[in-house]
C-alpha cells in the first residue's frame, strides 16, 4: 500500500504511475478483506467496485493520450488539457474518485473503509494509520497523474495531438459517469455489496453505505489525507529526489544477488557436508540421534521410578553374555579378516545361546542356522580379499568414533531399560497360547508364523526371494544359471530320483556296463572331488563325512519342517538346515559336487516355494478369506493318529523358498568365484574354500 504509492510518485510513465497506484490500492483491499469482519467486508467490496470504476477509465484515458500524442512520458506532455478538454474532463472525474473526493464513489468507499477500521481492534487502528498515509499518497499520485498528463508545463512546447473521436472516448466517459452517479447513489448498492459482508456475523450496528455520514473522525482523516497528498504533490521535486536516493537497489537486482548468494552458500554447504565419507555421515547421524535422546532423557528424567535391573535370570545367562561380549571385543581388535568373521559369528552364536537361556528355542534354532550360513557365505566371499585389513585410519578418527559408539551402545541400553520399566500392559503371550491351544496345536511360535501372522510370513518370503535373486544377479551381470557348471565326470547313481540329467547320465553309464548305486560304485565316483579337485586341495575325511551326513541332515530338515506344530522347528529353519547340507557337500567336494547334488537351478526351488505358499494363501479364498487354513484330523493306516493342515503346505513353500535362496547364494558366491579363481590361475584347477 505504501510502497506502491511511494514509487508512483517518482515515475514518469503515466501507465506506470497508474500501475503502482493499483499496487497501492490492492494493499488497501488486502487489509480490508483480511480484517474479516462485516463492516470491513462491506468496505472492501465497495472499494473493489470503486477501484474498478475509476482505474479502468484512467487506464483507457492513458491509452487515448498515448494514441493521440505518441507518448506517455509526463515529462514530454504539456498543455494537453487545452487541446483535449473532453479527455481531460473524464480523467479529472475518474481521478477525483481515485483521490476520494466527494461526491464520487471513491469517497463513499474510502469513508466506509476508514469507519470500518476505526471501529476495529488495535491492529485495525494501526492498519488505519497506514491506510490514511496510503490515501495521502493516492491523492498525491492522482494529482501527479492529472498534472503530468494535462497541465501546461513551463519551458515545454504544447504537445501536438490528433483529435479524439467521440466513440473512442465513450467507454471511459461512461465509467467515469458511473463514479459520479454511484457516489450519491451508493446506498442502492447496499444489497449487492452486502451479500459478501453478510457471510460474516453482523455487528450490533452494521455500517450502511451512504455518501454522507456526517462530520465524523473518518471525514477528518479523509481531509488529512487530501491535505497530505496536496503537500506531497507540491513538494514533488524533493520527494522525487528522496525517492530516487532511497531506491538505491531495484528488487530485480536484490533478488538476483540473493539467488546468487544462495547458490554459492548451497554449493559451499554441500561441499562441506557431503564429504563422501561413510563414517562421517554415520557419525553425524548417530550424534544427532544421540543428542536428541540424551536431551530428552536429561530433560524428562524418566528413570526416577524405574526398578533397578536384576543381575541375571540364571548364572548361565551372565556367563554366556560375558563370552559374547568378549567375542565382540576381540572382533574389534583382530587384523585378519577371517578371524574377524569368526568372532562376529561367535557373537551370533552367543546371541543364540542367550535365546535358549531366555526360553526361545525357535529363535535360537533360526539364529544358529542363519549365523552358520552367513559365516560360510562371508568366508566364501573373503577368499578373494587380502588376508589382513588395511589399517590406514588416522588417530583422530579412532578418537572420534570410540565415544560415539560407546555413547550409542549405552544410550540404547538405557532407553530399553527405562522403556521396559515403564511397561504396564500385559504380555500378549497368554492370548497367543490360548489361541494356539484352541487350534489344538502346541508350538506357539510356529503357529504365529504360519497361521496367526501368515500374511507377514508370506510377504517376508516374497521379499527374501526378490532380494536373493536381485543380489545374486547383480553380483555377476550375466545369466544366473550357467550350463558350464556341469560335472566333469558324471556320477552314476548319486541321485536316482533327482531329475532328467541324472537319469540320462545313469542310463548312459548303465549302457556302458558300469555299476550303479552307492554301494556298487567305485570310490572315486562316489566322491566327485576325486576327479575334479587337485589332490593337495582335498580332504578325504571331510569329503566322506559330508557325503555321509548329507542324507541324514536332509531327513532332519524334513523332520524340522513337519514337527513345527508341536516342537520348535518350521519351514525357515528346515530350509536353512537343508541348505547347510548342500553347503557341506560344496565345501567338501567343490562346485562340481554341488552341481551334482542339486541338478536343478536354484530358481526352481525359489519359484516353486513362493508358488506353493502363495497358492495355499489364495486357496483360502475358497473359504472366503485369504490364508484360510484347513485342518484334518484322522487315522492313517501306518502313521496312526494323524493331523494334517494346510499350514504345513504353506510351511513347505517357505522351506523350498529358503532352500532355493541358500543354494542361489552358494552358487553365486561360491561356485562362481571358484570359476573366477580357476580362470585367473595359471593351472586350471577347481578351487575350494
Amino acid at each position: 500500500m505504501l510502497l506502491g504509492g511511494w514509487r508512483a510518485l517518482r515515475l514518469h510513465d503515466l501507465k506506470l504511475v497508474l500501475a503502482y497506484g493499483t499496487v497501492s490500492q490492492l494493499g488497501l483491499l488486502t487489509v480490508l478483506t483480511g480484517a474479516g469482519r462485516h463492516d470491513t467486508g462491506l468496505a472492501a467490496t465497495a472499494m473493489i467496485l470503486g477501484h474498478a470504476l475509476f482505474k479502468a477509465p484512467l487506464f483507457l484515458v492513458t491509452g487515448i493520450v498515448d494514441h493521440a500524442t505518441g507518448t506517455r512520458d509526463l515529462r514530454k506532455l504539456s498543455g494537453l488539457g487545452r487541446r483535449l478538454p473532453a479527455v481531460c474532463a473524464v480523467a479529472v472525474l475518474a481521478g477525483a474518485s481515485m483521490a476520494a473526493v466527494p461526491p464520487l464513489l471513491g469517497f463513499s468507499a474510502k469513508e466506509a473503509a476508514f469507519q470500518a477500521l476505526l471501529d476495529g481492534s488495535t491492529g485495525d487502528r494501526w492498519a488505519l494509520a497506514a491506510a490514511v498515509v496510503g490515501s495521502a499518497l493516492t491523492t498525491a499520485y492522482t494529482l501527479r497523474y492529472l498534472w503530468g498528463a494535462f497541465a501546461r508545463k513551463p519551458g515545454l512546447p504544447d504537445t501536438t495531438a490528433h483529435p479524439v473521436p467521440a466513440a473512442f472516448l465513450a467507454p471511459p466517459a461512461v465509467l467515469a459517469l458511473a463514479c459520479l452517479v454511484l457516489g450519491p447513489g451508493v446506498s442502492w448498492l447496499q444489497g449487492l455489496l452486502g451479500t459478501y459482508a453478510g457471510q460474516f456475523p453482523a455487528p450490533a450496528h452494521p455500517y450502511h453505505l451512504a455518501l454522507w455520514h456526517g462530520a465524523g473522525l473518518a471525514l477528518g482523516l479523509s481531509g488529512a489525507a487530501w491535505a497530505g497528498g496536496v503537500l506531497l504533490f507540491l513538494a514533488a521535486s524533493p520527494v522525487t529526489r528522496a525517492g530516487q536516493r532511497l531506491a538505491w537497489r531495484s528488487a530485480d537486482l536484490v533478488f538476483g544477488r540473493m539467488l546468487l548468494a544462495l547458490e554459492r552458500t548451497a554449493l559451499q554447504c554441500t561441499g562441506f557436508v557431503q564429504r563422501g565419507s561413510l563414517s562421517v555421515y554415520l557419525v553425524t547421524t548417530m550424534s544427532v540421534v544421540l543428542a536428541g535422546q540424551i536431551a530428552v532423557l536429561v530433560a524428562d528424567e524418566p528413570w526416577t521410578d524405574v526398578p533397578a535391573p536384576r543381575l541375571w535370570d540364571h548364572p548361565a545367562q551372565a556367563a554366556v553374555a560375558l563370552l559374547t561380549c568378549a567375542a565382540a571385543l576381540l572382533c574389534l581388535g583382530v587384523r585378519r579378516r577371517m578371524k574377524a568373521v569368526v568372532f562376529a559369528g561367535l557373537t551370533g552364536y552367543g546371541t543364540a545361546l542367550l535365546f535358549v537361556a531366555q526360553g526361545a528355542p525357535d529363535l535360537a534354532l533360526t539364529q544358529f542356522c542363519v549365523e552358520t550360513v552367513s559365516m560360510i557365505v562371508f568366508v566364501l566371499v573373503l577368499r578373494r580379499m587380502p588376508v589382513r585389513f588395511e589399517e590406514n585410519f588416522s588417530r583422530w578418527r579412532r578418537l572420534l568414533r570410540m565415544p560415539v559408539a560407546l555413547a550409542g551402545g549405552a544410550a540404547v541400553a538405557v532407553v530399553v531399560w527405562i522403556m521396559a520399566g515403564h511397561r504396564r500392559a500385559d504380555s500378549a503371550g497368554a492370548a497367543m497360547v490360548e489361541e494356539t491351544a484352541h487350534h489344538g496345536l502346541k508350538d506357539v511360535v510356529a503357529t504365529i508364523l504360519v497361521d496367526l501372522r501368515a500374511w507377514d510370513t508370506m510377504g517376508e518370503s516374497a521379499v527374501l526371494a526378490a532380494a536373493a535373486i536381485g543380489v545374486t544377479s547383480l553380483i555377476y551381470l550375466h545369466r544366473r544359471a550357467d550350463g558350464a557348471e556341469q560335472p566333469v565326470l558324471p556320477l552314476p547313481g548319486d541321485h536316482p530320483h533327482a531329475g532328467l540329467r541324472t537319469a540320462w547320465r545313469a542310463s548312459r553309464y548303465e549302457s556302458a556296463g558300469l555299476p550303479t548305486g552307492d554301494e556298487g560304485g567305485p570310490e572315486r565316483t562316489w566322491l566327485a572331488a576325486s576327479a575334479t579337485l587337485a589332490p593337495e586341495r582335498r580332504s578325504l575325511v571331510l569329503e566322506v563325512v559330508a557325503r555321509l551326513i548329507f542324507h541324514p541332515v536332509l531327513v532332519l530338515s524334513v523332520y524340522l519342517l513337519l514337527c513345527a506344530e508341536n516342537l520348535p522347528g518350521g519351514g525357515f529353519v528346515a530350509g536353512l538346515t537343508a541348505g547347510v547340507a548342500f553347503i557341506a557337500r560344496y565345501l567338501a567336494g567343490g562346485r562340481h559336487e554341488l552341481a551334482d547334488a542339486v541338478p536343478f537351478k536354484p530358481g526352481v526351488f525359489t519359484g516353486l516355494g513362493l508358488f506353493l505358499s502363495t497358492g495355499v494363501a489364495l486357496g483360502g479364498l475358497g473359504e472366503g478369506t485369504v490364508l484360510h487354513g484347513w485342518t484334518w484330523h484322522g487315522h492313517l493306516p501306518v502313521w496312526g493318529e494323524a493331523h494334517l493342515s494346510t499350514a504345513v503346505l504353506f510351511d513347505c513353500g517357505v522351506y523350498l523358498l529358503v532352500l532355493g535362496v541358500v543354494l542361489d547364494i552358494v552358487r553365486a558366491l561360491g561356485a562362481r568365484i571358484d570359476r573366477q579363481i580357476e580362470r585367473a590361475a595359471p593351472r586350471p584347477e577347481a578351487g575350494r574354500a
Partner: protein
C-alpha cells in the same frame, strides 16, 4: 517390569562394537559391524521382553489340557 542386566550389558557392548566397526573404513569391517549390530539389536528386543521362561511349547501337557500358565511367555 525389570530387565536382566546381563542381557542389557551384552546388548550395549554388541551395539557399541557394531557401531565402531560401522565407522571404520574397511568395507568388510562395515559388513561385520552390521552383523554384530544386528545381534545387539536382537538382544535388546530380547531384554525388553521380560524374564526368562519356559519354551512356548505345551509339550509336557496334553493338548486338551494345555493351560496358558504352562507357557508364561512366548518368545518375541
Amino acid at each position: 517390569m525389570t530387565v536382566s542386566l546381563s542381557l542389557l550389558v551384552a546388548a550395549a557392548v554388541l551395539n557399541a562394537v557394531g557401531a565402531t566397526l560401522l565407522l571404520t573404513r574397511s568395507l568388510t569391517r562395515i559388513l561385520l559391524g552390521a552383523v554384530v549390530l544386528g545381534n545387539g539389536v536382537n538382544l535388546l528386543v530380547l531384554a525388553a521382553t521380560g524374564s526368562a521362561g519356559e519354551a512356548p511349547c505345551s509339550t509336557r501337557t496334553s493338548s486338551a489340557t494345555a493351560s496358558p500358565t504352562r507357557c508364561p511367555r512366548p518368545s518375541p
